[in-house]
């Protein structure tokens, strides 16, 4: 196992900068998820770490040694591909043992080792099958086995679960989490699924348009998203964002928006600075921090009901503030909610996030 370091790494394809001046450190034994929408540069970053793309500029280090221009075969890494890349003409045993074959291990030894790993992954009984003769979930585990069969410095995952159906994906995710606890491997894991990143990562790097927007633990990213982009990307359903007019009246913070009542927000220097730059702020509240409140109460959003979806243990209640500005509340009840035409959703002041007009988080008191 080893650490990983990116130093001012840029990758351009012609005019387009897929990765723009990215720097980060990954400690030994860390499981880091690169999270972001498609085209954000996460896969390109991973492929540069694997050696499958060469950076336009910058340095990449594995275990303190520079590998920027090393061929993939000389990096001693392991990688699980999105399409699994199982060789259709080799049976499972030969597929899993292939990395040992190119390392010159004798047949008996490499097949023994392959069987051990396959047994752990519950595919040991399929060793004579071809990849086309096993299920999607088994294929996924085969590709995982091929990555785990030899000791690598870093394990790379390129959306390894995205080709599985929802149920298998949950199962595989749990297994990966277990594996990480067991092995303590250094891993870099690319995904666009925020739930996957939250569940697996020790730290998450949220990427957007070639930049890392926030690099922090899952809890930190959930509790204190650095930008509206992160706030909107992490959480399901995503955080509700409401454009508000802000002003300072008699040393107190006053926020105004259609249907919104709010009080008890402390005025801080940071908020003051944001207000002098622009009177417009963005207020964020997560759906799970909203509840049904009495009409006329303080710290509420009131608007016509748009949808009322009962999902079993919880209900999603959505109100429409006009111009498709919708606010969703996630209410934990297995009862059907009987709602009137206009609904008031309430929250407590401590769950309010504020972002400046550029979308940057304004630190709350004590942050």
């Amino acid at each position: 196992m080893a650490s990983v370091e990116f130093k001012n790494v840029t990758k351009s394809f012609g005019e387009f900068k897929a990765v723009a001046d990215v720097s980060f450190d990954i400690g030994d034994g860390e499981f880091v998820c690169l999270l972001g929408p498609s085209g954000c540069g996460k896969t390109t970053s991973l492929r540069m770490l694997a050696g499958l793309e060469t950076p336009t500029s910058g340095k990449i280090l594995i275990g303190g040694e520079e590998v920027t221009h090393l061929h993939p075969k000389d990096r001693n890494i392991a990688m699980v591909f999105q399409d699994y890349a199982l060789y259709p003409h080799m049976n499972l045993a030969d597929n899993i043992a292939y990395p040992l074959k190119v390392r010159g291990e004798p047949v008996a030894q490499r097949h023994g080792r392959a069987k051990e790993v396959a047994d752990v992954l519950k595919i040991g009984h399929l060793m004579d099958r071809l990849p086309s003769q096993i299920s999607g979930g088994q294929q996924q585990r085969t590709s995982l086995a091929r990555a785990l069969v030899y000791p690598a410095k870093v394990y790379l995952f390129d959306e390894p679960l995205s080709n599985l159906d929802a149920k298998l994906r949950l199962e595989a995710r749990g297994f990966l989490n277990h594996l990480q606890r067991d092995m303590g491997m250094t891993a870099v894991y690319v995904t666009h699924d925020q739930a996957e990143a939250m569940a697996l990562a020790t730290r998450i790097a949220v990427m957007d348009q070639g930049h890392i927007v926030q690099f922090a633990s899952p809890i930190e990213i959930y509790r204190r998203p650095a930008t509206t982009f992160v706030a909107n990307f992490v959480g399901n359903p995503p955080m509700n964002l409401v454009e508000v007019e802000g002003a300072q009246v008699d040393g107190k913070l006053v926020l105004k928006a259609e249907g919104l009542t709010i009080a008890g927000l402390a005025m801080t220097d940071a908020i003051g600075k944001a207000l002098t730059a622009s009177g417009k702020l963005t207020l964020g509240v997560r759906p799970e921090h909203l509840g049904i409140a009495a009409a006329g109460a303080v710290n509420t959003i009131t608007a016509p009901l748009f949808a009322n979806e009962n999902m079993g243990p919880e209900s999603l209640v959505t109100v429409d503030r006009g111009d498709s500005a919708r606010v969703t509340a996630r209410i934990f009840t297995d009862d059907h909610l009987d709602l009137s035409k206009v609904v008031t959703l309430g929250f407590s002041a401590e769950h309010v996030h504020l972002f400046d007009s550029a979308g940057k988080r304004i630190p709350a008191l004590g942050e």
């Binding site: 050696g51 499958l52 060469t54 221009h69 090393l70 061929h71 993939p72």
Partner: protein, 311 residues
């Protein structure tokens, strides 16, 4: 003096690719050599030879003289241009042959067949397809021989059939040689158009036709309003390809030898006669150059359409 320990240092990769530029160049070399010598060199050599009086035998076989445009002038000599056995006659004959057998015969028959076999029972489809494709895949010499027997004046299957139907038999190879090679080439090549259109039709989602069925469209309306517009690109591709192939085909030679009295002498056959029976390489080369120019025009059209499609 101390020597540095020699370390097996991995080579640096400037820009990673699955195959390095050096290896890629090595991989391309054998094909590049073969194609250069047998495709690209002939292209330029034929232009060079067409300006000489090179022959197969005799003095000018070894020391051909530069004759300028003489070969071209003799090909386009207005006094003889349209006479049988001359270049102009051959060129016009070939144009008619391409129009009748490729653009009308092969393309229309192929389109009809492709549409028919979409709807007929599988066994009818299977049998029809088998014979149409057999006409296309069997070696050209065998096909030439089969038609030779088929059209035989005294015993051939065709005259036997005509007599059976109470129609007068004929010696078609003598009486109607042009129409024989037109029918022959249509028969020989319809399979390509059929398969191209067939694959085009089957790439149209069935739901398009089912929606038309629900709306009450007839088979003809479905063909005209849905099938045809959606395979327009394939039709253009097909027409250009079969035009080029028919223009260059040498197969009718195996049935008629270009005769009788030059009446089926397509430019490819004319080229062969001038070069390898009259042994006038210079003049044959000039014919080759003109054929290539015509090919080039079609190829450029084809490639520009292909490029647009890819974008």
């Amino acid at each position: 003096m101390t020597t540095e320990p020699i370390e097996a240092k991995p080579k640096k990769v400037r820009n990673f690719a699955l195959l390095s530029n050096r290896a890629g160049a090595a991989f391309l070399t054998p094909a590049g050599l073969l194609v250069s010598v047998f495709v690209i060199v002939p292209f330029f050599w034929v232009i060079f030879v067409s300006f000489t009086n090179r022959t197969l035998l005799g003095r000018t076989a070894l020391n051909p003289e530069f004759v300028g445009l003489a070969n071209y002038l003799s090909l386009f000599d207005p006094a003889t241009f349209f006479q049988r056995g001359q270049f102009g006659f051959s060129l016009i004959l070939t144009t008619q042959f391409v129009l009748a057998s490729a653009l009308l015969g092969q393309a229309l028959l192929g389109l009809l067949l492709a549409w028919l076999i979409q709807t007929v029972p599988p066994w009818v489809k299977r049998i029809t397809e088998t014979f149409v494709i057999a006409a296309w895949i069997l070696p050209e010499v065998v096909i030439g021989f089969a038609w030779f027997a088929f059209l035989d004046r005294d015993q051939g299957t065709l005259n036997m059939l005509l007599e059976g139907l109470g129609l007068p038999p004929g010696d078609f190879l003598l009486q109607q040689p042009f129409w024989v090679i037109v029918v022959f080439n249509t028969w020989r090549g319809a399979a390509f158009s059929m398969m191209l259109f067939n694959s085009a039709f089957s790439s149209i989602p069935p739901s398009y036709f089912q929606a038309a069925d629900v709306a009450g469209a007839s088979s003809w309306q479905k063909f005209r309003d849905i099938g045809l517009p959606l395979i327009r690109g394939h039709i253009v591709t097909d027409l250009i390809l079969i035009t080029m192939w028919t223009f260059n085909t040498f197969t009718p030679f195996l049935l008629t030898n270009g005769g009788p009295s030059y009446r089926t002498e397509l430019v490819s056959i004319y080229n062969y006669r001038v070069a390898f029976q009259d042994f006038q390489f210079g003049k044959g080369a000039a014919v080759g150059v003109i054929m290539m120019l015509i090919n080039l025009a079609f190829a450029l059209i084809y490639l520009s359409i292909g490029r647009k499609k890819r974008r």
